[in-house]
């Protein structure tokens, strides 16, 4: 039987995030979600590796779902490290039914996915990772507060004001501002156009 990935709607992904955040509520401290502790609670071990791994991949969920391999080069920048770990954790959550077997069917292996499957799988894992790392109930009031109280120097231009919000919230969530901008788009705090123009087309990824 060939591999089928059933894409999730954004509403479903938000629900899954709420379940994860509820299940690991003690790992949330104020606005900060301790994804490394959640991963540890789930008995998954991150394995930082060198060997030029970063040339090929930032990190990955291994075939055995007890392991996430991550390029050690990100270890000194928690804002990126945490996002990568969260994404890989979410891959395992979203496809646990096939991960739990410890054997990935040939047509489910990453190099054998169709373009659409790859896009859908990545979209869902990235969306869920953002929803877990940046809970909606924390982001919305914080974003509005920082938008309203933006310093005079950035109030004059929409782009400066939105960038100010994303950059100011980096320290609350410990994820990099681009990820915060994507999450702000996910929850309709900014439009897709604003997200592209002021963030993803502007920042080096």
């Amino acid at each position: 039987m060939s591999f089928i990935y059933q894409p999730r709607s954004n509403a479903e992904l938000e629900q899954i995030a709420e379940i994860i955040l509820g299940r690991y509520a003690r790992r949330r401290s104020g606005h900060f979600v301790d994804i490394e502790a959640i991963i540890e609670d789930a008995e998954i071990t991150p394995i930082p590796r060198r060997g030029g791994l970063h040339k090929f991949v930032n990190g990955y969920a291994a075939t055995n779902p007890k392991y996430i391999v991550i390029s050690e080069s990100f270890a000194s920048y928690p804002e990126r490290y945490r996002s990568i770990l969260a994404e890989e954790f979410c891959h395992i959550v979203l496809e646990y039914e096939i991960f739990k077997t410890g054997i990935l069917p040939i047509d489910a292996q990453p190099h054998n996915l169709t373009f659409d499957q790859h896009q859908q799988i990545e979209h869902d894992a990235q969306y869920l990772a953002r929803a877990v790392l940046i809970p909606k109930d924390s982001l919305i009031p914080l974003w509005r507060e920082h938008f309203e109280n933006a310093p005079a120097g950035v109030r004059h231009a929409e782009d400066c004001r939105l960038i100010h919000c994303a950059e100011s919230l980096e320290s609350f969530f410990v994820v990099w501002p681009l990820t915060i901008a994507y999450r702000a788009r996910d929850v309709d705090l900014i439009t897709d156009g604003q997200c592209r123009s002021y963030f993803s087309d502007r920042l080096a990824i």
């Binding site: 060198r50 030029g52 040339k55 190099h111």
Partner: protein, 70 residues
Amino acid sequence: MIPLMLNLDEVSEAEFNQKLYLAREHSRLEFSDLFLRDQLAPARCSTSGDKQIDEKTREDILKAVFAPLS
């Protein structure tokens, strides 16, 4: 930690460390002693620009992961 758990005195701890050193020199523990390639084969990857990996990259990833640390 181990000397602490075993409640070793200074002399015994020195002896323990010497034997541990010799054991490590005799047979170094490698990454591949702990993990199998099949279990660490990439299943879902985070790449720059969300690029899908191909079969060659999959192999390159495994080579990098199992490369001895310099």
